[in-house]
Symmetry: C2
Subunit: 467 residues, 2 copies
C-alpha cells in the first residue's frame, strides 16, 4: 500500500492528523474495486489499515449492496470498534451479512451503550439469536436497556461508572481505582461520583481535581455539587440540553429512588445533537425518518406521505382560486399576480417557523416571554407587510396600469404577511402545547394558511373593489 | 425565598436536579418585577441563588430593555460565570450596561475561550477600554485569538493544557500536576498530551488511564496515539466533525510547525453544534444571522433581504404566467391548476434539498458516491412524478371533465417533480463546489426553478395540446 496509508498510530504530521475531516475517497474506491472482484483480502486490508472511525466513514460511502458484499467477504474487518462508529443505515446493511456469532463477538468488544444501539438495529430473529449467545450478564443488561423507550436517556447510558463513599480520601480512591479488576471500570471516565450509603449521588470529583489534590485530602473537599442528574425516562434531547447548559463531560443517571444506576458520556450526546439536527431539518422539509436512506425505494417512501398531504393542501388552495373563476376570466392579471401573494406569505411564514422551532428547542421561548415573542412576530409581520405592500403596489401598477389593482395587491400582501407572522409562531407553539414535535407538520399548516388566505384575500378584495 | 429555591449545592432530590431541563419561569417573573420596581437587591438575590447556567437561562427570557436594566441595577449578579453561559444576543445587551472595569473583572473570572467570546461581542470603543485594563499577558493572548477568523477553531481554543515528555513515568506526571501552581493548569482537563522535545504532540494519556496505571509505568505504555489534531485555521464545523467522529473529550491544537499551541474542550464543541444547527435551519428558511434577535427592528431586518429576493423570483414566475394570458382567459381552469404543479415541485425540491444539505454536512456525500446519490434523487423524482401524475390526472378529470387537461397536468407534474429531484441535489452540491454554504440560498434557487419550470411546462403543454 502507498506511503500515506500507514495505520494511524504511525501518523505524525499535522496534515495526516487533520485528514479525518475528509473521507478518504481513494480507500472508498479501493474497497469498491475489491468488492467487485470478490477480493476478500483486499477489502479486509483496505479497512484494517484505517482508524475504526475512518473505516466506518468509508463504509458509509458504499451503496447498500456494496456494504453487504464487503461484510460478507471480510467479516473480520467489521469488528465492534467499526460497528460502533457506523450510522444506523450502514449498520443495518452490515449486520444482514454477519452471522449471530460474529455479531456477538463484536458486541463483546463494544461499549455497552453502543452494543444496545447495535441490537436495536437487528431484526427480531437475528436479535434473539445474538442474545442467546451472549453471556447472561450482558444479555440481561441489554434487555433492561431495551425496555426504555427509543430516544430516551436510558438507551444512552452505560452501566459501568466509578463511585466512592464520601468519607474516603483522595489516596484511598486512587488506590481503589488502581486495584479494581479492569472489567469493572468503564474504559474511559471523566469523573467519580461520590455516593451516600443509600447509593444516592451527592457530588462528583473531576479526575483533574483528583490528580491535583494531595492524597490525604478527603473527597468532600475536592467534590463539586452535582449540577444535574439524568433519569432513564428523560428524552435524549432533554439530557443533551442539560449537558449543553452545564458543560458536562458525563452525567449520572438515577432510578426512581434517586439511586445511581448508570452514566451518560458526552460523546453520545454529541451524536444525539447531530441526530436531532438531521431530524429537525428533515421534519421541517417534510421528509420522514428514513430520510438519508440509501435505496431509491426507501427514498421515495420517505417523501411520498408529505407530498400527498401537500397535494391535498394545494388542491384546497386551488379550490379558493376556482371560487373566483369568473373574475379571473375577465381580469387575467389576477391569475398572474395571485401566486406572488401566496409565495410571499409562504416564505415569511417559513422564516418565522424556523426561528420559532429553534427558539423552542433551545428554551428561548417559555411561558415567561411567549407573549412578548408573539407580539414581536406579529409586529414584524405587519412591518414586513407594509414594506412589501409599498414595493408590490407600484410594481403591479407599472405592469398592469391599474391603480385599483395595485391597491388590491398591496392590501392582500399586507394581510397575508401579517397572517404569515401569526401562523409562523402560533402553529409551532400550538403543536408543542399538544405534545407534538413542533418541527413536524408545522410547515404544512403554515403554508396552507398563507396559500388559502393569500388567494382568498387577494381574489376576494379584487371582486369587491374591481368589479 | 421559598423552600425550593435554595442554592444548587443544597439540592438533593432527583426532582430538583432534573429541574434544569426547564427554565424556572417563576424566577423570571421575580426578576422582571424587581426590574420594574428598580429593586437592585431583588434582582441580585433572585439571580445569585441560581446556578450560573440557570441564571443565564433566566436572563435570556428577558427583553433587551429588561436585560439592560437588570445589569445596570445589579452588575454584581453578572459575573464571569453567568456571562460565560449567556447567548450572544443576551451578552450584547448585558455588556451595554456594564463599565469596562466590571467587564474586565468578569473576564478575569472566565475560562480563556469564554473571555474571547465576550470580547468579540463588545463594540470597538468598549473593547479597547476593557483590553487596556486587563493584565498584559491576558490582553496579548486575547488579541492573538482575535486574529483567527470568526467561526475558526482558533477562537475556541484555550491556552492552558498539560503536557509531559515521553520518558516520564505515571508517578512523575502525577507529582508534576500536584506541584504545579494552580493557575498554570486548566481548571478542568481530561487528558495529558505527551510531547517530543520539539513540542509536537505524539500521543495523549486519558486521566482515567493515568489513574489506573502503577506509578512506575512509563507514559509511552499508557499513551494512546492521537486520533486527530486541530489547527487554529480550521473551520469550527470541521473541528466539531473530528470530535464527533473520534469521540474526543478534548483535542490538541497545533500551529503551522505542528507544535502544541492550545486545546479545545468538548463543551465548546457542543455549543458549536447547537449554533450550526440554528444557522442551518435559519439559512434554509431564508433568515439572516440575527435570526433569534430580540427587537422587532432586528427581526424585520433579518427577514426582509430574503423576502425581497423571493419577491423577485415570484415576479419572475408570474412573468411566465403572464406569457400565457390569452389561453388562461379562455380556459380559467389553467389558473386554478397551475399553482398545484408549482407547489408540488417546490415541496419535492425542498425535501431533496434538506436531505442533501444534511448529507453534505455529515460527509455522507463525497466524490466517491456523488454519482450514485444524484442518480438516486433523479430516479426518486421520476417515481414521485409518476405517482402524483397518476393521482392528479384523474382528480383534474373529475374536476374539469377534460381528458386532455388531465393529460397536461399529469405530464407537467411528472416533469416538474423530476426537475425538483434534480434541483434539490444539484443546487446544494453546486454551491458547495463554489465554496458557498449549501444551506444558504439553496431554497431560493430550487423553488425558483420549480415555480418557473412548473408554470412554463404546464401552461406551455396546455397551449400545445388544448388549443
Amino acid at each position: 500500500m502507498s506511503e500515506n496509508k500507514n495505520p494511524r498510530d504511525n501518523a505524525s504530521t499535522t496534515e495526516e492528523l487533520t485528514r479525518g475531516v475528509h473521507v478518504d475517497t481513494q480507500v472508498v474506491d479501493e474497497v469498491r474495486i475489491a468488492v467487485a472482484q470478490r477480493d476478500a483480502t483486499g477489502v479486509g486490508k483496505a479497512l484494517d489499515e484505517l482508524d475504526p472511525a475512518d473505516a466506518a466513514d468509508v463504509v458509509e460511502q458504499l451503496s447498500a449492496n456494496e456494504t453487504q458484499a464487503a461484510a460478507r467477504l471480510a467479516p473480520e474487518a467489521f469488528g465492534g470498534d467499526v460497528l460502533a462508529e457506523l450510522s444506523d443505515d450502514a449498520l443495518e446493511d452490515v449486520v444482514e451479512s454477519l452471522n449471530p456469532t460474529q455479531i456477538a463477538d463484536a458486541i463483546n468488544d463494544m461499549e455497552f451503550d453502543d452494543a444496545v444501539q447495535l441490537i436495536e438495529e437487528l431484526g427480531e430473529r437475528l436479535r434473539d439469536g445474538v442474545l442467546s449467545i451472549l453471556e447472561p450478564g450482558i444479555r440481561d443488561s441489554i434487555k433492561n436497556s431495551l425496555k426504555f423507550e427509543e430516544d430516551s436517556a436510558g438507551r444512552l447510558m452505560q452501566r459501568e461508572f466509578v463511585t466512592a463513599p464520601q468519607f474516603w480520601t483522595v489516596g484511598q480512591l486512587i488506590d481503589h481505582v488502581r486495584k479494581a479488576p479492569p472489567d469493572t471500570l468503564p474504559e474511559i471516565f471523566y469523573e467519580v461520583y461520590v455516593v451516600d450509603p443509600a447509593f444516592h449521588p451527592i457530588g462528583s470529583v473531576a479526575l483533574s481535581s483528583l490528580l491535583r489534590a494531595k492524597p490525604a485530602t478527603t473527597l468532600t473537599e475536592v467534590m463539586a455539587p452535582l449540577r444535574a442528574v439524568v433519569t432513564p425516562q428523560m428524552d435524549q434531547e432533554d439530557a443533551a440540553y442539560l449537558f449543553e447548559k452545564y458543560d458536562l463531560p458525563s452525567a449520572p443517571v438515577v432510578d426512581a429512588e434517586g439511586r445511581l444506576t448508570g452514566m451518560i458520556m458526552v460523546d453520545d450526546i454529541v451524536e444525539v445533537l447531530q441526530e436531532e439536527h438531521t431530524e429537525d431539518m428533515l421534519a421541517l422539509a417534510g421528509v420522514n425518518e428514513a430520510g438519508l436512506a440509501d435505496t431509491i425505494l426507501e427514498t421515495v417512501r420517505s417523501r411520498v406521505p408529505w407530498l400527498a398531504i401537500n397535494l391535498g393542501t394545494a388542491i384546497l388552495a386551488s379550490g379558493v382560486i376556482a371560487m373566483f373563476s369568473d373574475i379571473i376570466a375577465k381580469i387575467v392579471a389576477l391569475a398572474v399576480l395571485a401566486p406572488i401573494v401566496a409565495s410571499m406569505g409562504g416564505n415569511a411564514g417559513t422564516q418565522g417557523l424556523a426561528v420559532a422551532v429553534r427558539a423552542i428547542a433551545s428554551r428561548d421561548i417559555t411561558s415567561a416571554n411567549v407573549r412578548r415573542i408573539i407580539l414581536r412576530e406579529i409586529t414584524a409581520g405587519l412591518i414586513n407587510g407594509l414594506i412589501f405592500a409599498a414595493i408590490m403596489g407600484p410594481i403591479a401598477y407599472l405592469w398592469f396600469h391599474s391603480v385599483l389593482l395595485s391597491v388590491v395587491i398591496g392590501a392582500a400582501m399586507l394581510i397575508n404577511l401579517l397572517i404569515a407572522g401569526l401562523a409562523g409562531i402560533l402553529v409551532p407553539l400550538g403543536l408543542k402545547k399538544l405534545g407534538a414535535d413542533p418541527a413536524v407538520a408545522s410547515s404544512v399548516f403554515v403554508t396552507t394558511a398563507t396559500d388559502v388566505i393569500g388567494f382568498f384575500v387577494f381574489l376576494g378584495l379584487a371582486t369587491l373593489i374591481l368589479l
